[in-house]
């Protein structure tokens, strides 16, 4: 007698257990929904829902606000263009660096800003004011800081993530990069100051001989110790409002306007996606041109 071989073939042919079994085995009845089961399911679904809401918020913050802001920026630019083209252009003042102070209206664009190294498509209309509402439109000018071309500190805040993200790449700016500001009557060319690690050896640095760096030097060497802390880029905590003071980091010391440099300061959040710190870029005015039909400053070609 041959002993029965234990095989593990599972095909029907040899499977004589179920072969004649026509009836499907009855499905086990679903266990009744006990309160505990319902509660666990409810909690699980709530957690999944919250996760989806958080993901949606990221989409909103990074993409949707861009769309909403692009529209507002376009409206502000259109309003500025029509204002500039309709007004009789007052001739630029005889001293090109002295501009008649204009009254700025909150939430209204008053200047255009270009950073040629970010590409020719990088342009924003700057509005007056730095509340959330103003910054949705575009970069915002800190009220009570200098106006373009004025002695002191022309300070602008801008978003780094979402809402058009004008200052997304601010950390990539290098010393001597041009930041061009256009008002109704004038163009102002600001250049990023030497970085803190370039200050010491600036005179011996090959970069300082480049044409782009004409007029750019560590302020501590040209204007004295009051400007010792004013370098191309710095990272500060949000409470350090002194970075937008007429002389950055010098609060309380009154310096006559004619002793002040004409600075531009940009502020944005740092690191990206966080508001723990602020990224600050300081630049100094090196040139200005009167606005004329068809004239575009040569600095706009840099990049």
């Amino acid at each position: 007698m041959i002993p029965r071989v234990e095989d593990d073939y599972d095909d029907e042919y040899y499977d004589d257990d179920d072969y004649y079994d026509d009836e499907e085995p009855a499905k086990p009845a679903p266990p009744p929904d006990s309160m505990a089961r319902k509660a666990v399911r409810g909690v699980g679904e709530a957690l999944i829902t919250m996760g989806l809401v958080v993901l949606l918020f990221v989409v909103y913050e990074v993409y949707v606000t861009d769309l909403l802001s692009a529209e507002k920026q376009a409206d502000a630019t259109a309003a500025l263009d029509s204002e500039w083209s309709s007004n009789v252009v007052t001739p630029p003042p005889s001293d090109p660096n002295r501009q008649a102070k204009t009254t700025l209206i909150e939430g209204k664009a008053f200047a255009k800003m270009y950073i040629p190294v970010f590409g020719s498509d990088w342009k924003f209309s700057v509005v007056e004011g730095t509340t959330d509402k103003h910054l949705e439109i575009g970069p915002g000018h800190y009220k009570d800081t200098a106006q373009p071309g004025e002695a002191g500190n022309f300070a602008i805040a801008g978003h780094r993530v979402g809402k058009g993200a004008p200052f997304n790449d601010l950390d990539l700016l290098e010393s001597c990069n041009a930041i061009v500001v256009q008002t109704q009557t004038q163009w102002f060319v600001y250049r990023v100051l030497p970085m803190s690690n370039e200050v010491a050896g600036w005179a011996g640095n090959a970069k300082s001989k480049e044409a782009a760096c004409t007029g750019v030097a560590p302020l501590s060497t040209t204007l004295g110790d009051a400007y010792a802390k004013t370098v191309g880029q710095e990272i500060v905590v949000p409470t350090q409002g002194e970075v937008i003071a007429p002389i950055p980091h010098q609060v309380g010391t009154t310096v006559p306007a004619d002793k002040q440099a004409r600075l531009l300061t940009l502020t944005t959040c740092h690191p990206r996606f966080s508001d723990r710190q602020r990224l600050i870029v300081h630049a100094i005015e090196t040139k200005s041109y009167p606005v004329a039909d068809g004239f575009i400053p040569p600095e706009m070609q840099e990049g």
Binding site: L56, Y142, G162, S274, I280
Partner: protein, 51 residues
């Protein structure tokens, strides 16, 4: 929660699917245009000014 909503959607299957899509779209729109704009300034992500 989702099962509870699904069981309360009236009509045949195809209608229920349409209703579910509309409901989802409505909730997303509510979040995008009302809830998030309200909540965003209160969250520590995107403050760019110094004080």
């Amino acid at each position: 929660m989702y099962g509870w909503i699904w069981r309360r959607l009236p009509g045949p299957l195809y209608l229920r699917i349409i209703e579910a899509v509309v409901l989802t779209a409505g909730i997303i729109a509510l979040l995008m245009f009302v809830v998030f704009p309200w909540a965003e300034p209160k969250l520590p992500f995107n403050h760019v000014t110094t004080q």
